[in-house]
Symmetry: C2
Subunit: 337 residues, 2 copies
Amino acid sequence: MNFLIDGLQYANWSEKIFRQMRAGGVDAVHVTIAYHETFRETVLNIEQWNRWFETYPDLIFHGRTAADVRVARETGRTAIFFGSQNPSCIEDDIGLVEVMHTLGLRFMQLTYNNQSLLASGCYEDEDTGLTRMGRAVMAEMNRVGLVVDMSHSGERSTFEAIAHSTRPIAITHANPASWHPALRNKSDALLRALGESGGFLGLSAYPHHLKDGSACTLQSWCDMAAFAVELVGPTGVGIGTDLCQDQPDSIVEWMRVGRWTKTIDYGEGSADAPGFPPMPDWFRDNRDLAAIRDGLRAAGLDQTTADGVMGNNWLTFFEQSFGADTAQSEEARRAAE
Amino acid sequence: MNFLIDGLQYANWSEKIFRQMRAGGVDAVHVTIAYHETFRETVLNIEQWNRWFETYPDLIFHGRTAADVRVARETGRTAIFFGSQNPSCIEDDIGLVEVMHTLGLRFMQLTYNNQSLLASGCYEDEDTGLTRMGRAVMAEMNRVGLVVDMSHSGERSTFEAIAHSTRPIAITHANPASWHPALRNKSDALLRALGESGGFLGLSAYPHHLKDGSACTLQSWCDMAAFAVELVGPTGVGIGTDLCQDQPDSIVEWMRVGRWTKTIDYGEGSADAPGFPPMPDWFRDNRDLAAIRDGLRAAGLDQTTADGVMGNNWLTFFEQSFGADTAQSEEARRAAE
């Protein structure tokens, strides 16, 4: 059975979008529930999701385990997995790592562009790597089964996360910088190290991460995917579109500026183009996802690898990542005896 | 198989107490995690429990379902179920009902002695019954599987909770007022209505709820239990000791005064006896629980009923109470089709 999984979306959620997920045959989506939100604000966002789960039980449900992806397929629904693009949701409290995992969080970025309490973001002048709290929180994330996501982190911080994490990490939405040199894209050396560690790369369709931006062709994107498979390996690559469907431009401003500055920061945009860029014409919404499979085959990937990139690889990663680290717990218990 | 379950404790938790639970063969305990705490403060208390679960995995674990009581017995541990004695943990936000349930809350009192946003407490001069928010929150508690607990509520509020709840409610720790007329104990008429509705009474061993206080004998208490069985029914009675082992007197002051007044309120105590009263000599800690079984037989209960009161009745109530109201959901789904 072949699955279809998107490793990152942050849409202006609505029944229309949930129905597009079903029309597109999307089995699971990792959705962002926090950019700069505190713990309490993140819980408010979870409450909103709970309302959607209650209102549209025939379309979506809250995904917690890899098995829920199979449940989604069997019941004709889309499993929604929570992630945070910033550790703001755990504030300065390591105890909130397990609490957020209990509430369903399955991915957490150590940084969002800026320095955080845990590591350095990709927009800082100086990347000082993992902080003391960063190492402590990463061990706790490894213990409970909360995936370390370094999509918006600096290169040194990401290398250190790969080295210190006892479980594979993810870069849920980024592309190779050698294909398109954006600050958010990743160097070939980093992506090779990610692959060697068993880590995972979700490929972005966000125009600022694409060669030729919104004009990027499906063929160009699929050629890039084939190159990413060479760097990371055939089982370590998936999709993480970064789709921000139906969002007003005030949202991209919130992502970039949060509450950390009183001035405007354009991030990947510019004063001339401050808003969301138009998506490439071959990927407007969830209904277009499935067609990427043929593009990957045309780019030279064999069927198994193409199917892996479309979702099977994410499913395997979910299976290895979302549960408690029982090996570690068993080991700790034996050591204590 | 006969189970041993205590339906209410709020001890100064420690390895010593967890080991006493094991020595006493206690399969499950409903523990209080909030008296006056806000949501965030309640989460801090959950974080502390998570530390205990991580530190003492061979003694205790977090109970979420009735099946966990059987897991506790099979693995020689005690399952810990969370409850709040006050709706302060959901603040003014109905969305926190499901969030707290996800975090493991299985019981919530609508009031703690005082008027709350939901209902009237047993110490108020006027009991005005369920509030508008009280009815809304109770419906949400019924939906997700969070038990309505009226231990510290006024009589009218409790009658209204019984009438409006679509699922059986509990009074986790109180005794018949006709045995000992404390404000916290319940009238015969109320206990009969509770039983007729399928509700549940946990019998308290807290001296202020006992005839003769700390000098109450096991025989007197077991005679009271037999009387409670007559009022509520043989399957609707269990134990809810209200054990507050090893707590300093500052804790009983926090329970009574919280942050709601600047003056001292002695609650069930008095200026002469402001602290915790000594427990009766036949119930000092969890190791003494099992001996109550013989006392219940001596008071005339048949073996099945005595075993029911000791834990089997709570287990059946857990089985019926902690899951989502699927019947209601199915009905709602059919109505929507």
